[in-house]
């Protein structure tokens, strides 16, 4: 499928800040399911910093903006040709060993309820069926409700309140998977919005679980499926914060107002 992405993040400061430093993971991953036709990331007034591909295979690009500045726009646009690989991350070059994704963070630390969900993978016939069942179970346990959680809500908190957004689904999934001994990571990316009448989050997140013999496989509890050709993968991490597409900091006392618009659409080939 040919997908086009327009993703604009606006930062407005009520008082000008002295400078901004950001680290972006905003470039589509290189693997057999994605072919990037064109892609650009721009930042108003920004100086391109260092860029490199990290051990997890993500393209990282640093930016700095010299102040004073009261408004910054990060604009991502491009087109990606996608193929449905049933969630399998085939042909992705990375060096971080899967075992490194058994480590928990504050956001993914399992409580009793998550440990109980981990039983699904521990008692499954095969690791693969266990992962599918776990994905469904997370889907059932956390109802999609925008605004019901905060960026720092942990997997355990989201599960306890029974509602959340894709971030919460993904963190609960990887938390329970790790507790079940399956290396798991948080993935950020895009999802083609709305043509099936469902309300998707276009700036999306899901989980990837590692199964020996197959490799990394995506699972999206928010949509109860494995990522297909409607998905664009951009980066991964131990949790939402670690996988954030934009990490940044501003110098100055101005408070920040953030607005984000994302459109992901199918294009005629």
């Amino acid at each position: 499928m040919l997908l086009s992405v327009e993703h604009v993040t606006m930062y407005r400061y009520d008082r000008p800040v002295r400078g901004v430093v950001q680290s972006h993971r905003l470039t589509p991953s290189k693997f057999d399911g994605q072919q990037t036709l064109d892609w650009s990331v721009t930042m108003t007034g920004g100086t391109l910093g260092s860029a490199f591909r990290d051990g997890a295979g993500d393209w990282v690009q640093g930016w700095t903006v010299a102040g004073p500045v009261d408004e910054i726009e990060v604009r991502v646009s491009g087109r990606v040709l996608t193929t449905d690989l049933a969630g399998v991350l085939r042909g992705h070059k990375e060096l971080v060993p899967p075992q490194a994704y058994l480590r928990d963070t504050e956001a993914t630390e399992a409580d009793a309820a998550l440990l109980e969900l981990a039983q699904i993978v521990l008692t499954a016939e095969s690791p693969l069926s266990g992962c599918h069942n776990l994905c469904d179970a997370i889907s059932d346990a956390i109802v999609y409700r925008p605004g019901s959680t905060k960026p720092r809500t942990t997997a355990a908190q989201a599960l306890a309140q029974g509602e959340g957004v894709c971030q919460d689904h993904a963190q609960a999934l990887i938390s329970a998977a790790r507790a079940g001994g399956i290396p798991a990571r948080y993935v950020s990316g895009y999802l083609q919005s709305g043509q099936d009448g469902m309300d998707h989050e276009a700036a999306h997140a899901w989980g990837e679980l590692y199964i020996a013999g197959i490799g990394w496989i995506g699972f999206d509890p928010a949509n109860r499926c494995c990522p297909d050709d409607r998905y664009i993968r951009i980066g991964s991490g131990l949790d939402a914060q670690d996988a954030a597409p934009i990490r940044g900091i501003s110098r100055g006392s101005g408070s920040e107002i953030l607005s984000v618009t994302v459109a992901v659409q199918t294009q005629e080939q």
Partner: protein
């Protein structure tokens, strides 16, 4: 008769390296000794070399006690130690390059994957990155104890930012000032080249993008840090800037330091703060001590960080048990310095042994340092042993146990005169383009009679350490 090896006296005779100190110490009248001791304390107080003790309350500017009786090694003893230390520093760096690369040692089944990759100190953000000259740990502090004439054991490795080198330099300075005759009568290897060697080591690992004389800085968390004195002392001796996070900033692909003449590009950062705090974009977002964007510049070769982020995975106390394997695997050599036999409480059969012999063992936290959170079985009450047993059982993976070593003693000035006290040694091995170390290191002494804990936070003091020229 003490079972401990006394480094000065054996069978009522003075061992050769201490021959030059026998007359000196015997002839020193008590009033002179006390006057000298007071002079040393005043000098230390004046230069401001104090030590804040965590968790003990009291005077945060407490002086670290200085003992005037030097600790002495022969040229031969040192030659063996030096070879062993350099060998270890090489193996530890090879290990770091490996586990952030293909992890051959894990694939070969010589060290458990879990111990490396699930280690809190394993930093996946540096996977695939080989720092300049292949060095992760540029200053390796190796803690060594002695139990006999030729028996040396490595107690632990410090691959991040080992502290205490300022005490090594100041102790020598103090001795030379107070007892100049001793340095004329004995042929003592000098150590004053350390700051130069450190600066050369740091400059030698400047990133590829640096095309001129590298600018080196020391990054300190600030004056409230217990080792701040050392940070400013080293900056001073090396002739480099001492900076805090707020003095540095990232612009484009490089790191700059604010100076009165405008921004100046920085090539090598000798950081004296933990990984967690060096870059809020990559690590703890609430850290105010670091430099935003530093890791991106580092990963793309715009600046060097010493020690390299992630180096801590090599000096974990559980990883320690595998260092002899690392030496064989990477260097194809037999270890020159021995490891202390270590039981990992995370291992069921080891745990059983530890539990049955707890009163005879020393137990430490895997990530502990500074002599905190440890049990010295033979020096503890039954109740203390039982309390510690509960801690181990609650989290066995967090503890390792070792036999209580019969640490050697050296003569030490105490109230009653001169008495043997237990000592250890921390040499500082510099790893850059070359591997080198100055002869000696920091000798720490347990000033309490019978105590085996030499940490300054636990009542330990320091001594000047001599290596005699051949």
């Amino acid at each position: 008769m003490t079972p401990y090896f006394n480094e000065m006296f054996q069978n009522n005779a003075v061992r050769p390296p201490y021959a030059g100190l026998e007359g000196w110490s015997a002839d020193m009248p008590a009033d002179i000794r006390l006057a000298k001791q007071a002079e040393a304390e005043a000098l230390f107080r004046r230069i401001g070399i104090t030590f804040a003790v965590y968790g003990e309350g009291g005077d945060p500017d407490r002086l670290i006690p200085f003992d005037m009786f030097p600790r002495v090694f022969t040229a031969n003893e040192w030659a063996k130690l030096e070879r062993g230390i350099k060998q270890r520093a090489r193996a530890l760096n090879s290990f770091l390059v490996d586990v952030y690369g293909r992890g051959e040692i894990v694939r070969a089944g010589l060290i458990p994957a879990k111990l490396v990759y699930q280690n809190d100190a394993y930093e996946k953000s540096v996977c695939g990155f080989i720092p300049p000259k292949g060095v992760y740990s540029h200053i390796v502090g190796i803690d060594i104890v002695r139990t006999g004439p030729s028996d040396f054991y490595v107690l632990e490795d410090n691959c991040r930012t080992p502290s205490g080198v300022s005490y090594m330099l100041e102790s020598r300075e103090m001795m030379m000032r107070m007892f100049p005759d001793l340095f004329r009568e004995n042929r003592i290897e000098p150590i004053d080249s350390y700051p130069d060697k450190l600066r050369r080591t740091l400059a030698s690992v400047a990133p590829a993008k640096c095309d001129r004389e590298p600018t080196v800085v020391i990054l300190t968390p600030g004056h409230f840090n217990s080792a701040y004195y050392e940070h400013s002392f080293l900056a001073d001796l090396m002739g480099v800037e001492l900076v805090e996070g707020q003095d540095l900033f990232v612009d484009g692909a490089f790191v700059y330091m604010r100076t009165t003449e405008g921004p100046k590009r920085v090539d090598v950062i000798y950081r004296r703060l933990d990984d967690d705090y060096i870059d809020p974009l990559c690590f703890r977002p609430d850290s105010m001590l670091g430099v935003a964007g530093l890791m991106d510049v580092y990963r793309s070769g715009g600046v060097s960080i010493c020690s390299a982020p992630g180096a801590g995975v090599a000096d974990d106390k559980a990883v320690y048990t595998y260092v002899p394997e690392m030496i064989r695997f990477y260097l194809g050599e037999e270890p020159i310095l021995k490891n202390v036999p270590t039981w990992k409480c995370g291992d069921a059969s080891d745990l059983k042994y530890v539990s049955e012999n707890l009163a005879d063992l020393v137990v430490k936290e895997v990530h502990g340092s500074g002599g905190y959170g440890m049990l010295v079985g033979p020096k503890s009450t039954k109740q203390q042993v039982e309390d510690f047993r509960a801690l181990i059982m609650a989290d066995p993976n967090n503890y390792i146990a070792q036999p209580t070593l019969a640490l050697s003693t050296t003569p030490t000035f105490v109230e009653e005169g001169i008495a043997p006290r237990h000592v250890d040694l921390r040499p500082y091995c510099l790893v850059g383009e070359r591997i080198e170390l100055v002869p000696g290191g920091l000798t720490r002494v347990a000033l309490r009679e019978g105590s085996l804990v030499v940490n300054s936070s636990q009542g330990g003091g320091v001594k000047d350490t001599w290596v005699l020229a051949e």
